[in-house]
């Protein structure tokens, strides 16, 4: 059987339809998507590199402040990402794998920090654990010193954690659903109690998801500005993101833009390294058999009430409490007056929703966020489909490129676009903010789409091919249509993220216009805390409602 004459190795003709396949619609689509990504992602990154390359910025980078800020950034990002992964995983396991009471509501509540702009969260938390929070005041009154003040590194890490654990929870939840319950049950039968089955089987199998969410969160937290600026600066805890801001604010460096671009590139490189590491680590995952069994929930038994009460307490503490703090700040007549009935007023709320500039900002943000959601949804769907469903290097590279902007701080992307804007004729138009949103948020949809698609067998499209559809047609009719719900979910996240976006729009706004995030930030900067709180509250509640509706529809 080995003696059969075979084609000479390296024969011109190759298998797998590689023979002179005519270029078709799919190739055209890939080219179009490359053009889109080139314009929306590679172009601003290129501008950044050019800017950073101007002059020698090495001296700046080795400056003590930068090194200190870099160390602070790395420290707060890694510690908070670790904590977020631990909390997110715990929540995901409890919500997905046990019979905890009130899971549906708990899940929704637990997701809510995702909806609150980080700087709003920071404002809210000042009301809870700031030096004058009722708790700290009482503690100071009783014991002479406040219990714990949120200012400083510990507060920054706490808030970063609170605002990023929902991401870990979402990723781990999705991964959990892919782990067959059989594996845990086999451990139970082998003599392991529920907790041990979890730690020796489930958690190790979650490793790729844990690593990915850690990297994603660490990279995101590296770039966060709102929390370290409000919580960190008062205790002199400076991170790279706040340092960027300071360099822009004070004229203490000669060429602030170049310095900022350089710091942006440093963050970009850090993030790329992390993404590569993630790719290497996560690739070493396991192929798991698809299990059609309904995931089994472990009864918590006697612990159900205890664990349930604890979970509720924690979730209420980190989600409802900030909302209550915002509510108090909104309703209180003036900061510093005691919390009594007479001091409550709706004036600030009324003023918030009647201030024309804020209303214009809300309208503008809604428009931009919806457009961004639609564009990111379509672009992300197309990229996700091409990445997950076609082979070859070009589509795979496309996927990688789409993920890169996730790692770049908003303010750096904004600088890049601001540099490019006049030559593109986008200056002083709302479309500038829109393209920056698309740059930053397309990755969210790509991610949402690619995961479920790569789990569906290719026979779905092959059936369409045999039925008479060309490659592109099959991709559009079958894969894209099947992934549409995922893309819509991704687009909803884009919308709620964009509607309260701050760092991009604060630089890219055109005169006379406003976005909601900027409006809130301006109120806060101008000392109108109550109005800022009022809007924050509105944004958070509307976001909760939107996500609640969206998840109800999909489940």
């Amino acid at each position: 059987m080995t003696s059969t004459p075979l084609l000479p190795a390296g024969s011109a003709i190759r298998a797998r339809g590689a023979v002179r396949r005519r270029t078709d619609g799919v190739d055209a689509l890939v080219v179009a998507l490359w053009l889109a990504c080139g314009g929306l992602i590679l172009l601003p990154i290129g501008a950044l590199l050019v800017l950073a390359g101007r002059g020698d910025q090495l001296g700046v980078l080795l400056h003590g402040d930068v090194l200190q800020a870099g160390a602070n950034s790395l420290f707060s990002a890694t510690v908070s990402a670790l904590a977020a992964v631990v909390i997110g995983t715990t929540f995901a396991v409890l919500l997905d794998r046990t019979d905890l009471p009130g899971r549906t509501v708990l899940r929704l509540l637990a997701l809510s920090p995702l909806l609150m702009p980080p700087f709003v969260g920071a404002i809210a938390w000042l009301g809870i654990a700031g030096p004058t929070s009722p708790l700290n005041l009482w503690w100071r009154g009783t014991f002479g010193a406040p219990l714990w003040s949120i200012y400083g590194a510990d507060g920054v890490i706490l808030l970063l954690t609170i605002h990023s654990y929902p991401i870990a929870m979402l990723i781990v939840s999705a991964a959990l659903r892919r782990i067959p319950t059989d594996l845990e049950q086999a451990a139970r039968i082998s003599g392991a109690g529920p907790a041990r089955a979890l730690t020796s089987v489930t958690v190790p199998l979650l490793r790729p998801a844990l690593v990915s969410s850690f990297v994603l969160i660490a990279v995101g937290n590296l770039a966060d500005f709102g929390i370290p600026s409000i919580i960190g600066l008062p205790e002199r805890f400076v991170t790279l993101a706040t340092l960027v801001y300071r360099y822009l604010q004070s004229g203490t460096v000669d060429d602030p833009l170049a310095v900022v671009a350089t710091i942006g590139v440093v963050l970009l490189v850090l993030a790329l390294l992390a993404l590569v590491a993630d790719g290497l680590l996560a690739r070493r995952g396991w192929e798991l058999d698809s299990s059609n069994a309904v995931p089994e929930r472990t009864p918590l038994g006697h612990a159900r009430v205890g664990v349930g009460a604890m979970m509720w307490a924690v979730v209420l503490l980190i989600t409802v409490l900030p909302l209550l703090a915002l509510l108090t700040q909104t309703l209180l007549r003036a900061p510093g007056v005691p919390l009594t009935w007479e001091n409550l007023t709706l004036d600030h709320l009324v003023r918030a929703v009647t201030t024309p500039s804020a209303l214009a900002g809300a309208a503008n943000s809604t428009m931009l966020a919806s457009l961004a959601a639609v564009i990111c949804g379509i672009l992300g769907l197309a990229i996700g489909v091409v990445v997950a469903r076609t082979s070859g290097r070009a589509p795979r590279a496309l996927g990688a490129v789409a993920m890169v902007p996730q790692a770049i701080p908003g303010i750096v992307i904004a600088v890049a676009w601001l540099i490019l804007a006049p030559s593109l004729g986008l200056f002083n138009t709302p479309w500038l903010i829109l393209v920056a949103y698309v740059t930053s948020f397309t990755a969210l949809v790509v991610q949402a789409v690619a995961a479920p698609l790569s789990a569906t067998p290719t026979s779905a499209e092959e059936a369409a091919r045999v039925a008479g559809a060309g490659r592109l047609r099959a991709l559009v009719d079958i894969s894209a249509r099947m992934a549409t719900p995922a893309a819509v979910a991704g687009a909803v996240i884009v919308a709620v993220t964009a509607v309260r976006e701050l760092t991009l729009s604060v630089l890219l706004l055109s005169p006379g216009s406003q976005t909601l995030g900027v409006a809130i930030f301006n109120f806060q900067q101008a000392g109108a805390f109550s109005t800022a709180s009022a809007w924050s509250l509105i944004v958070a509640l509307v976001g909760l409602a939107v996500i609640g509706l969206a998840t109800r529809r999909t489940s």
Binding site: L183, Q185, A186, I189, S190, G191, A192, R196, D289
Partner: protein, 356 residues
Amino acid sequence: MASVTLENVSLRYRNGTLGLADIDLDIADGEFIALVGPSGSGKTTLLRSVAGFLTPTAGRILIGDRQLAGGSVSVPPEQRELGMVFQQHAVWPHWNVARNVEYPLRRARVSRLERQRRVAEALELVGLAGYERRDPATLSGGQRQRVALARALVARPRVLLLDEALSALDEPLRDRLRLELHTLTRELGLTVIHVTHDRSEALALADRVAVLDAGRIRQIAAPQTLLERPASPFVARFLSDATLVDGHVAAGRFRAADHPLALPCDLSLPDGSAATAAILPAAVRIVPGDDAVVRSTLFTPEGSDVVVTWHGMTLRVRTHGMRPQVGDRVAVEVGHAVVYPHEPAVAAELPVATPA
């Protein structure tokens, strides 16, 4: 090794579905029991109740003399000393073969040396001697299922539970593993409960087969008995593809409704009572003639599996030696049929071959 007893076990799921209804089952020490039944009949529910993943809402479950479930008692799975093999093998992908097989021994705090010895022994038993260091990802489906079996056996369980353990394998492999499973469990004298969809597998392996339907055991008997004396039209149809015919009893004979078929009937029913006859495919002979048409024939080594339309009735026939062709006109002789008093419920559930 031990006997398993289910006394009056019922289980209702939270959403109200009745999973098991009044199950009484005595499994002797060392017996091999197979559970078959249509999808949703409660096979998995029964097995998982024995394993401890589900708690019956009524009744008791005992292994040997120890009560595992019932009343306020509910021993968790990890304390039941069972072995279990799942449909998708459930071999842990993050550990090598030895670590997988060793796990139950670790949980039982067996010493390292002893563990090594027993793992080697278990792997030997399932024909994977020397595979200790292999990564499960590098094993074929059949080999993984054997690892799962070794893992289930290594701690010398009192009862071995198999939930569709062979169903995910390709046919030739399934066939081979079926033989090995039988040899192995017989040699070890294990008590086995084996859930399967595959009727021939159940009949092939088990000392007794329990036929479940809608959460109830419809019949439990040795394979031969089940084939020869099905307890109900349902069992006859489910296990042997019997054709069910509605009709009535008259003068000691069964007469089909609207059809020339008439058969002797040893059922003592008053004249005129409605009855259902189950015609087993092997009890029908095809002879030259022209009142029936062959609609389909499937080749089997012994003969053919034939479907004929006979005066509007679709009848399944198993021939021996003879191989009619599709479209042939033939005559049909029904040797005998099992006649049951009419059960409207069954008729509603399974479309009976009422003459059109």
